[in-house]
């Protein structure tokens, strides 16, 4: 159990900056998720912490201990790899015991830990098998078991679920969360899948091009994204964006997209006032675009005419692909909707849930 601190950490591979001035504090017992598109530096950030890559600049602490020059084996961490990286010539038992044997732990203690971890993961009956005789899900458990037996201060996981099929992934997601609660240890988890990040993370760090974009709880990332990238990356289907201009007066302001005009709610006026007359990016999530016939109560509605381009029935909801003027966007509407392809309809935007970003800096205006 320990906190982890990145202090202005930079990693360069030749001319490529993989991690750029990353400062980040992971609290003790936290489940922190590093998320971002491929090549964003999340895996490198994790490997720096593991000691598998050398830090170019900056400092990394595990607890209070500076670990820049500490060998991986002495950092008191355990890592689960995307490929699982099991030793193919060893049995499941030996795979899990390998790290403990290297630490010259007594045989009885090794046996106790391996059996205990196997029980937690439900793989007791597989201990004599070789990795080749296991299914993907079973291998994944062995890889987890190998980390658990070490009883490390920090668990590092590099996309451990991405080689599993969709159903197993969802199931294992929940099990990992349970495991985290049970072990009461710091988890640092790398994924490119925002859904995994949202469902498992205590907090999420969003990275892009080696730069930390935002570090916050899942709900805050969803509700209050700091910039256009985070807003677009978190949530599925992604947020709708419209290039727009703020027009009118400081008391009576409108968001003008060229295709439609929306009145800015009074509580947003002070923040947006300095941007009057300037170009902005207007964002609204599909969840906040409703069918006018089924407008939920308690929202701040603004009506917009639209033409239905495509509909996707998901059972409990319907995704409608809408066109207004020159803009296309997605709404996530009530399944009772009567919207059909080609219909001219009215949709309702919830103005309490709009996002406005500075066009030049792409930062949220709040």
């Amino acid at each position: 159990m320990a906190s982890v601190t990145y202090e202005h950490v930079t990693k360069r591979f030749g001319d490529v900056i993989a991690v750029n001035d990353l400062s980040l504090e992971v609290k003790d017992k936290e489940f922190l998720v590093l998320v971002g598109p491929s090549g964003c530096g999340k895996t490198t950030a994790l490997r720096l912490l593991a000691g598998l890559e050398e830090i170019t600049e900056g400092k990394i602490y595990i607890g209070d201990r500076l670990v820049n020059d500490v060998a991986p084996k002495d950092r008191d961490i355990a890592m689960v790899f995307q490929s699982y990286a099991l030793y193919p010539h060893m049995t499941v038992y030996d795979n899990m015991a390998f790290g403990l044997k290297l630490r010259k732990m007594p045989k009885s203690e090794i046996d106790r830990r391996v059996k205990e971890a196997a029980a937690i993961l439900g793989i007791e009956q597989l201990l004599d098998r070789k990795p080749k005789q296991l299914s993907g899900g079973q291998r994944q458990r062995v890889a987890l078991g190998r980390a658990i037996v070490r009883e490390p201060k920090v668990f590092l996981m590099d996309e451990p679920l991405s080689n599993l099929d969709a159903k197993l992934r969802v199931q294992t997601r929940a099990e990992l969360s349970k495991l985290h609660q049970r072990l009461q240890t710091t988890f640092i988890y790398v994924t490119h899948d925002q859904m995994e990040a949202m469902t498992m993370g205590t907090r999420i760090a969003v990275l892009k091009d080696g730069i930390l974009q935002q570090l916050d709880t899942p709900q805050n990332l969803y509700d209050k994204p700091d910039n256009v990238f985070v807003a677009g990356f978190i949530g599925s289907p992604a947020m709708n964006f419209f290039d727009a201009t703020l027009v009118g007066t400081k008391e009576d302001m409108y968001i003008d997209t060229g295709s439609f005009r929306l009145k800015v709610p009074a509580n947003r006026l002070p923040a947006l006032a300095p941007h009057l007359g300037k170009e902005v990016v207007f964002g609204i999530r599909p969840d906040n675009v409703h069918d006018a016939e089924f407008t939920p109560p308690g929202i701040n509605p603004a009506r917009v005419p639209a033409k239905v381009d495509v509909t996707e029935l998901m059972g409990n909801e319907v995704f409608v692909y809408l066109v207004t003027g020159k803009h296309s966007y997605v709404g996530r509407v009530d399944p009772r909707t009567n919207m059909r392809v080609g219909h001219n309809v009215e949709v309702v935007f919830d103005m309490d849930r709009i996002h406005v970003f500075d066009k030049a800096t792409e930062r949220a205006i709040r």
Partner: protein, 298 residues
């Protein structure tokens, strides 16, 4: 009119040229050699006019001390050469694998060089290097003050045996290294990382991770080189001619001598068939090993 053929028929037709080639250029000779070996055949007389002697030639071969001596040398040579080549090749492969990419490329090119040289040229090069009067090796040893006069590398029996092995190791370690490089590349990098995090130091990683995972490749490489070494002919022919006496005579070079030096075609054929049988036995092991490797991969 268009002729329509079923797919298996077309496949058979495509295979036919190669099939005929193999029959004419391989199996015909083997069968012919087998028939020769049952006759008392001198020079190139027509075998049909020569006396049929059943297995008398084979009996002669197995009774001959030369056969047992050359078998002993061949086995010793094969064992020493393959073991040394494995050691040297593994060293070269590891060195090439762990350095930077561009340096690795250069090293690979250097490593492959000895293997590219034709065996008979290699034999000639080493004949000069080992030459008692003008050889570089003798000169170096004398210059260093290690010996008074150049050793008789190719005429002193013990020295000759090991000079031959040395020349073979120099040439064939490279193919061993290339084999092993392929095996090393097939080990996922993640496994090394996992071992690092688990706490294995480099020597331990080599012993407990690299070596076991390389083992299938090593076995195949050993068998491949072993079969090759058992058949060694060019090197002996070019370097020592089997001498001094018959000390460095391999099975193949001895069979050659029976044919072309002594003109005993029947006996030489029996010799060749025995060598052939030994190698086929080893090749069968090799093939089954490869097949098992394939199954592992799946």
């Amino acid at each position: 009119m268009k002729i329509r053929l079923r797919e298996p028929t077309i496949a058979f037709l495509f295979l036919l040229p190669a099939f005929i080639g193999v029959i004419v250029f391989y199996y015909y000779q083997i069968v012919q050699t087998g028939i020769y070996s049952l006759h008392n055949l001198q020079h190139t007389a027509d075998w049909q006019t020569q006396p049929f002697v059943w297995f008398k030639n084979y009996a002669t071969v197995f009774r001959s001390t030369y056969f047992w001596q050359s078998l002993r040398f061949t086995v010793y040579f094969t064992f020493m050469a393959t073991v040394l080549e494995l050691a040297v090749g593994l060293g070269m492969a590891m060195a090439t694998f762990w350095v930077s990419r561009w340096l690795g490329g250069i090293l690979r090119a250097i490593i492959i060089m000895p293997w590219v040289i034709p065996p008979i040229i290699n034999a000639m090069i080493w004949r000069w290097l080992f030459h008692a009067d003008v050889g570089l090796f003798g000169y170096i040893l004398v210059s260093l003050g290690l010996v008074d006069k150049p050793p008789l590398f190719l005429t002193e029996p013990m020295l000759a045996v090991h000079s031959v092995i040395f020349a073979d190791v120099w040439k064939n370690s490279s193919i061993m290294a290339i084999f092993l490089l392929g095996g090393l590349a097939a080990i996922p990098a993640d496994i090394y990382d996992a071992a690092k995090v688990d706490g294995a130091r480099s020597w331990f990683r080599f012993r407990k991770v690299t070596l076991p995972m390389l083992l299938p490749t090593i076995l195949v490489a050993l068998l491949f080189r072993g079969i090759d070494a058992l058949r060694t002919f060019d090197l002996i022919y070019g370097l020592t001619g089997g001498g001094p006496g018959t000390v460095t005579e391999t099975l193949s070079s001895f069979a050659y001598k029976y044919y072309f030096t002594y003109g005993k075609f029947g006996l030489g054929s029996a010799y060749a068939i025995v060598v052939f049988a030994i190698i086929v036995g080893l090749a069968a092991v090799y093939l089954s090993r490869i097949r098992r490797n394939m199954r592992f991969k799946e």
